[in-house]
Amino acid sequence: MNTADTATASPVGQLADPAVSTRPGFSTRVVRSLDGGVGKLAVWLLAALWTIPTLGLFISSIRPQQEIRTNGWWNWITDPSQTTFDNYRRVLDTRQNGRPLSHYFFNTIQIAIPGALIPIIIGAFAAYAFSWMHFKGRDTMFLFVLALLVVPLQMCLIPLLRFFTGPFYPDALQGIPMVWFAHSIFGMPICIFLLRNFIGSLPGEVIEAARVDGAGHLTIFTRLVLPLSVPALASLSIFQFLWVWNDLLVAKVFAGRQTNHPMTSAMLNMVGDRGQDWHLLTAGGFVMMIVPLIVFLSLQRYFVRGLLAGSVKG
């Protein structure tokens, strides 16, 4: 169809007809006004509102303990002379169980990277099989995986812990690997579900062309499906990585001894038994935020594409 056809066939063309009312509807006017200055102002306002808590947290983290406890963070704006990095110094110098904070920081990295990658890799294989391999009971199996989406994580903690301490689980994989597996198990259903939707929407003829060209399933998966699924894999990586990075419960349950614990656990201990040192949390929170921020910013262009991919053909 050429553009002239489209123009005459579209409602826009009809609106131009003087016989028809040229006054657009209410919703059309609202949408148009959002495109203009009002919309931009609203977006700026929302962005600013949403940033205020983070800003408050940051300002608190550079104020003295006494100030934090006696007045609000906004007082810093009128009196910035009391700026101090004392909180950061204390957070970074604290030793827990004889280990510095950096130890727990690396624990978190050690947990978060495999904890994000394992379920995504396995999920991608499974998603390919559910989309492009024909075997008996495929749809039933997929339904079971979908059903797992609604099982609350907390319900599985005790059975899983019993399994990990039972006779079938190798002793060599105690400690941090248990946290990997737990995160993999909890993250897998959503990974399989989202990736199957994406991989299943890849054009079937491309997969068939590869089969005719002589490719087996593994080749199709590694040479075609994985490269074409980068947007979906990247956005899923962000979700899973953030989830594991910020996790406290799963790590506390499965990591075993204190020195295996991640930063979230170290933060909790830092606050003190009665929460008396909560001012340190402001600085600790910012130290923890750095890595997810870097991950998000470096993958964000995939993030947006990944969310849209599959929803529109082509």
């Binding site: 054009p203 003829e205 491309v206 068939e208 062309a209 590869a210 089969r211 005719v212 060209d213 002589g214 490719a215 087996g216 080749t219 040479r223 075609l224 490269p227 074409l228």
Partner: protein, 381 residues
């Protein structure tokens, strides 16, 4: 290069629908066979079964005399060009062409040489480093062709490879594919719904309807001697005019047929060709007249009322009403209309005709076709 045999090939889907009730077909070495038919006739299903992308429910398929029913697509040594081209979007043109050879672990230098050679042949050399997304429709089509020919497979399968091109490029590419196939001599099965493509490209054309074989023959034979009403009306553009007639008499080597208010008298060769009509005396038949057999030279006469005149330069198409009911093939069988029908005559462009006038057109009786109105089968050919 290879032969292909389909023996009572059947396709039944899981829901019980029988798409192909049993197809027997042989494709000779180096032959270009075109599968043609209206949409939903099962031609793509047959092609996908040949490729191994669709399971065969029953019957046998042999490539070079070897049964391949259970073999996967990768084991059949075939190459396929898809309607959407199905290029690998993440790979460059060169990698697309080389993909199948890389999988076969062919020597790198050899792959490079063959890719260069194929690119040269298809004029793709300047775009070898580009991704499919950066190519035009025609270039993508050529990459798909390149991917198929570079491997020198036993069989080429093509599933409507020209349907996404614009009209001009389609005509050009049609000729290129034909030339390429003759030059390479690879046995080819080509699927299309466009009967012009089928007629111009195929050594033989196989017409399918509702999964059943209607006729396999050379384009000339298909056009000149259709075995049934379906083929007669499907092949040819504009299609054959078919109206209801009645065999009045058949004696002394002369056959007379009443059409509308006229009597067509067949003698000598024309009568000998349709000698089978002797069994139809007193019965209705379907009379088929190609547009070019109407309005030229000939002994028969038919009166028509001109509705519309189309001047095409090389010919003058006259759409006219003829006082006899139309007969056509539908999905349920032969359907006979009522009242009058519209016929198309192809006249010499120097003739003149105006809408609204009454014309008496000559009928070339040597090119007359007759069909049984019950079964749609041709009577004599």
């Amino acid at each position: 290069m290879a032969t292909l045999q389909l023996q009572n090939l059947q396709k039944r889907y899981d829901n019980g629908y029988l798409a192909i009730p049993g197809l027997d077909l042989e494709v000779a070495d180096s032959e270009f066979l075109v599968l043609v038919g209206p949409s939903g006739c099962g031609k793509s299903t047959v092609l996908r079964m040949i490729a191994g992308l669709e399971d065969i429910s029953d019957g046998d398929m042999l490539i070079d005399g070897v049964r391949v029913n259970e073999k996967g697509p990768q084991e059949r040594d075939i190459a396929m060009v898809f309607q959407s081209y199905a290029l690998y979007p993440n790979m460059t043109v060169a990698d697309n062409i080389a993909f199948a050879m890389k999988l076969r672990k062919i020597d790198k230098a050899e792959i490079k040489r063959k890719v260069a050679e194929t690119a040269e042949l298809l004029e793709l050399t300047p775009v070898l480093d580009r991704k499919p997304g950066q190519l035009s429709g025609g270039q993508r089509q050529r990459v798909a062709m390149g991917r198929a020919i570079v491997r020198e497979p036993k069989l080429f399968l093509m599933d409507e490879p020209l349907s996404n091109l614009d009209a001009k490029l389609r005509v050009q590419t049609r000729a290129e594919i034909s030339k390429l196939q003759r030059r390479l001599g690879v046995t080819t099965v080509y699927v299309t719904h466009d009967q012009v493509e089928a007629m111009t490209m195929g050594d033989r054309v196989c017409v399918l309807r509702l999964g059943q074989l209607m006729q396999v023959a050379s384009p000339a034979e298909l056009y000149g001697s259709p075995e049934n009403l379906f083929v007669a009306q499907f092949i040819g553009s504009p299609s054959m005019n078919v109206v209801l007639g009645k065999v009045a008499a058949a004696q002394n080597g002369t056959i007379t047929i009443d059409v509308a208010a006229h009597t067509l008298t067949l003698a000598d060769a024309a009568a000998a060709r349709l000698a089978g009509l002797a069994d139809y005396v007193g019965r209705d038949i379907a009379v088929g007249i190609r547009p070019e057999a109407l309005g030229g030279d000939g002994e028969g006469r038919l009166d028509v009322d001109v509705d519309l005149v189309e001047m095409l330069g090389s010919e003058l198409l006259v759409h006219a009403t003829i006082a006899a009911p139309a007969v056509r093939m539908t999905d349920t069988g032969v359907e006979v209309g009522t009242g009058s029908s519209t016929a198309i005559a192809s006249l010499d462009p120097r003739e003149s005709a105006r809408a609204g006038e009454r014309l008496t057109l000559a009928v070339d009786l040597n090119r007359l076709h007759a069909f049984d109105v019950e079964s749609g089968e041709a009577i004599g050919r």
